[in-house]
C-alpha cells in the first residue's frame, strides 16, 4: 500500500515537473458512501452537492469518489474497504446504518480517516457529525402554528427514531406556543423515501382537515399533493424544494454539509484531523432555513426570523423548560435547557402530543 502510494506520488512529481505546474503533490482522495441514489432530491442529493462543493473548493488538490445506493450491512463494509484500498484518505459514510461497518473498517485502516453521519460511535480515526435539524423544526412549528386555520397540523414521519421524534417535539412545542389550539396528527410512513406512499399520506392528512403538512421523509410528493389540494402549506425537507414556492412551500430546512466537508478535508490536508463529535445547527450553517416566502404574513415572518436569530446567537434553545413528557411527568424545569445526551436519544413525546410512538 504505502509503497504503491509513494510510487504514485513519484510519478505525480514527474508529471508536475513535465508540465511545469506547481500543483500540490500530495493529492487527497475523499470517498463518500451514500445510502440512496444521488437523484433522490433529498438526503443523498445534498450530501452529493456538498461533495461537489469540496471538489470545487480544492480543485486539483482533492479527488472525490462516491458510491450511491449502498445497502447498510455487509455491502457497505465491503464498499468502504474497497474505497480505503483504492487509496482514499478520508471517507464520509452518510447513513446511520453504516455505524458498525464504519467502525470495523476503520480498525483495519488506521491511517484512513472516517466521518460517520448521525451516529454515536467514535474511534481514533472515526469522527461523527450530525445536524441540529430540530432548530429548524422550531421555526417551522412557529410558522405552522401561526398560519393554520383549522388548527390541525399533519406530520409525515419516517421511522420512530430519536432524530424524527426530536423534530416532532420541537415543531409541536413551538406551534403550541404560537397557537394553543393546535393539534398534531402524525403518520408513520415507515420509509425515508417512497413518493407514492408519501403522496397518499399527505392526501389522507389533507382530507382530514390538516392545512399544514410537515414531513420528515425526503421526496417532494407531499408538496405536490398540497399544491393540488390548495390552501395547504408545506415546508421543504432536507432540500429547499423551491419549485413549490411561494405556495404551498413557505419555507424549508436544508442540510448544508459543504462547510463541514470542506473543513474536514482541509484538516486532512493539513494533517490536523482529529476524531470529534460534531453536532452543528443553524449558527454554523449546517442547517439552513430556506427563504420564507411571501405567502407568510409579514409579522409571522418577522417572528420566525427573530426566533432564528435567537437560536443563532445562543440566547434561546428550542428545548427550554418548562416542559413535560407526554405522560405528564416533569422533564425540564422552568428555564432549564435539555442536555445533548437526552436529545440524542430522545424516545418520548412531550406533553400535548397525542398518539403513541410505535415500538
Amino acid at each position: 500500500m504505502i509503497n504503491r502510494r509513494t510510487l504514485l506520488g513519484a510519478t505525480a512529481i514527474l508529471a508536475t515537473i513535465a508540465t511545469g505546474a506547481f500543483a500540490q503533490v500530495d493529492k487527497v482522495k475523499v470517498g463518500f458512501v451514500y445510502v440512496g441514489p444521488v437523484g433522490d432530491g433529498g438526503w443523498t442529493y445534498y450530501h452529493d452537492v456538498a461533495r461537489k462543493a469540496v471538489e470545487e473548493h480544492f480543485g486539483d488538490k482533492v479527488e472525490t469518489v462516491f458510491q450511491e445506493s449502498v445497502p447498510e450491512g455487509a455491502d457497505s463494509e465491503r464498499v468502504m474497504t474497497q474505497m480505503a484500498l483504492s487509496g482514499a484518505n478520508l471517507i464520509f459514510t452518510t447513513s446511520f446504518g453504516y455505524m458498525d461497518p464504519t467502525i470495523n473498517v476503520a480498525a483495519k485502516f488506521p491511517n484512513v480517516k472516517f466521518e460517520h453521519a448521525t451516529g454515536y460511535k467514535t474511534a481514533e480515526n472515526v469522527g461523527v457529525y450530525s445536524a441540529r435539524f430540530y432548530e429548524g423544526r422550531a421555526i417551522q412549528g412557529h410558522i405552522a402554528g401561526r398560519m393554520t386555520k383549522t388548527n390541525k397540523i399533519g406530520y409525515i414521519a419516517s421511522f420512530p427514531i430519536p432524530e424524527v421524534i426530536r423534530g416532532i417535539n420541537s415543531a409541536y412545542a413551538h406551534a403550541k406556543k404560537a397557537n394553543p389550539e393546535v393539534e398534531f396528527n402524525v403518520i408513520w410512513a415507515y420509509t425515508w423515501f417512497d413518493p407514492a406512499k408519501e403522496a397518499d399520506a399527505a392526501k389522507a392528512l389533507i382530507e382530514q382537515g390538516n392545512d399544514v403538512i410537515l414531513q420528515h421523509t425526503d421526496s417532494t410528493a407531499p408538496q405536490a399533493a398540497a399544491k393540488a389540494a390548495g390552501n395547504v402549506i408545506t415546508f421543504g425537507q432536507a432540500a429547499d424544494m423551491a419549485e413549490y414556492a411561494p405556495l404551498p412551500r413557505v419555507s424549508s430546512i436544508i442540510d448544508d454539509w459543504a462547510p463541514y466537508y470542506i473543513a474536514r478535508t482541509q484538516a486532512v490536508i493539513d494533517g490536523t484531523w482529529k476524531s470529534d463529535n460534531t453536532w452543528d445547527g443553524i449558527a454554523k450553517g449546517m442547517v439552513v432555513i430556506g427563504e420564507i416566502s411571501d405567502a407568510v404574513p409579514a409579522d409571522v415572518k418577522e417572528e420566525a426570523l427573530a426566533l432564528k436569530a435567537s437560536i443563532v446567537d445562543g440566547s434561546y434553545h428550542p428545548f427550554t423548560g418548562p416542559m413535560k413528557k407526554q405522560d405528564g411527568s416533569d422533564w425540564l424545569a422552568d428555564g432549564e435547557v435539555a442536555d445533548d445526551g437526552t436529545l440524542a436519544g430522545m424516545n418520548f413525546f412531550i406533553e400535548g402530543l397525542t398518539g403513541e410512538i410505535p415500538n
Partner: protein, 360 residues
C-alpha cells in the same frame, strides 16, 4: 431462420453458451459505458478482472465473492427444487428475512451467556423460521388451492414490515441510544458467525451453501424424491399415476426452499451483516431466482451462476467509485447479462437452420 429441436441438449453448447453470453454482454455493456462517456475497456476490466486479479483489491475481493455468493447459492438451490417441480416460491426474500429475525432473536435471548449451544440453536431457529414462513403459502396451496406465487410474494412485504418493527421494537439494542437496529452479533462471540479461516471469507453460510449443492445433486440424481420432483415438473399427470403425492411434494419443495432461505438469512445476520436493521434485506431472495435459472436449475450450474452474479456485484461496485459510473448502469448491465444468458441458452436445446428447410 428457424429453430429445430435437438433430440438431446447439446453438451458443447451447454458449456459454450455462458461464455458466449458474457462476451455479448461485454460488447453491449461496453457500448452503454461508451455512451456514458467512460472507456468501455477499462469499465469491463474493472468489473470482471479487477475483483479477481487487481493486486490492490483482489486479496480482499476474492474472499468477498464467497461472502456475496453464499446466500444466493443457498437460496437458489432450494428454489431450484421447487421450480423443477412446478412449485413457484417467489417469496424467498421474505423467508430470508424471517430466518434472520428468528436466528437473531434466539441469539439475543441468550445474550450475554457464552454457551456453546447458542449458535447451533440459532441455526435451527433460522431454518425453522424460513420453513414456517414458506409453509404459509405451501399449506394454503395444498389446502385451498391458493396460488403460491402470489401469497409468497405478498408475504415478502409483510416480512419487510416485520423486520423494520423488530429493529425498532423487541430486538432493538437496549444500549443503542434509542437508535434502530439490534445488538451487533459479531460482537457476541457465542452467536457470531465469523470467518472460519481468517482472510478466506469462509463462514458457516459458505459451508452450508457448498453442502446444499452436494445435497441437491444427490437428491436429484440418486433419490426417489428427486425423481418425483423431475417427474412432476415434466408431466404432472404422469407423476400422479407414478404415485407422487402432489400435496406432499409442494410442501417438501416449499419447506426445503424456505428453510434454506431462512438459513441464508440467519448466517447473514450473524455474520457479514451483524445486526437486524430497518432495511436488513437487500434482495438476495429475488436475485436468487435469477441465479437458479442462470444455473439452469442444476446444482453445479447454480454454484457457478452464484459466483458470476457475485462477481458482477463486486466488480460493479469497483466500477462505480473508480470510474464514477452510476449504480443504475451496473443494474442495467446485470440485466443485459441475464438477457444474453437466457437468449443464447436456446442454442443448447435447438439447432438454428438458415433458410427454409424441407417440411417433414
Amino acid at each position: 431462420m428457424r429453430l429445430e429441436k435437438r433430440p438431446e441438449p447439446s453438451r458443447a453448447w451447454m458449456v459454450a453458451t455462458p461464455v458466449l453470453a458474457v462476451i455479448l454482454t461485454m460488447i453491449a455493456g461496453g457500448v452503454m459505458f461508451a455512451l456514458l462517456g467512460k472507456d468501455p475497456f477499462v469499465a469491463i476490466r474493472t468489473i470482471f478482472w479487477d475483483p479477481l486479479f487487481n493486486e490492490q483489491f483482489a486479496a480482499y475481493s476474492r474472499p468477498q465473492l464467497l461472502v456475496k455468493a453464499a446466500p444466493l447459492i443457498l437460496i437458489a438451490i432450494g428454489l431450484s427444487l421447487g421450480f423443477r417441480a412446478g412449485v413457484w416460491n417467489i417469496g424467498a426474500e421474505g423467508q430470508y428475512i424471517i430466518g434472520a429475525i428468528c436466528g437473531a432473536a434466539v441469539g439475543l435471548a441468550f445474550y450475554p451467556a457464552d454457551l456453546f449451544i447458542v449458535f447451533p440453536l440459532m441455526v435451527l431457529a433460522g431454518a425453522l423460521g424460513g420453513f414456517l414462513w414458506a409453509m404459509i403459502p405451501g399449506l394454503l396451496r395444498v389446502r385451498f388451492g391458493t396460488n403460491e406465487i402470489l401469497v409468497s410474494l405478498l408475504l415478502v412485504y409483510v416480512a419487510e414490515q416485520l423486520v423494520a418493527s423488530m429493529a425498532l421494537g423487541p430486538l432493538r439494542n437496549p444500549e443503542g441510544g434509542g437508535f434502530p437496529g439490534s445488538r451487533n452479533l459479531q460482537q457476541y462471540s457465542a452467536a457470531s458467525n465469523g470467518e472460519l479461516i481468517a482472510g478466506t471469507g469462509m463462514h458457516w453460510g459458505v459451508v452450508a451453501a457448498f453442502i446444499s449443492v452436494i445435497f441437491a445433486y444427490i437428491l436429484l440424481n440418486r433419490h426417489l424424491t428427486g425423481f418425483h420432483i423431475r417427474l412432476a415438473g415434466q408431466s404432472p399427470r404422469a407423476a400422479r399415476f407414478g404415485g407422487v403425492n402432489p400435496g406432499r411434494l409442494v410442501l417438501f419443495c416449499m419447506g426445503v426452499s424456505g428453510a434454506l432461505a431462512g438459513l441464508a438469512g440467519m448466517f447473514e445476520v450473524s455474520g457479514p451483516a451483524g445486526q437486524i436493521g430497518i432495511d436488513f434485506n437487500v434482495g438476495y431472495g429475488f436475485t436468487a431466482i435469477i441465479v437458479a435459472f442462470l444455473g439452469r436449475l442444476h446444482p453445479v450450474g447454480i454454484l457457478l451462476a452464484g459466483l458470476l452474479m457475485a462477481l458482477t456485484y463486486i466488480g460493479g461496485e469497483l466500477a462505480q467509485f473508480m470510474l464514477g459510473l452510476p449504480s443504475a448502469s451496473i443494474q442495467a448491465f446485470q440485466g443485459m447479462l441475464l438477457f444474453f444468458l437466457l437468449a443464447v441458452d436456446m442454442l443448447t436445446n435447438f439447432r438454428v437452420r438458415i433458410g427454409r428447410g424441407a417440411k417433414i
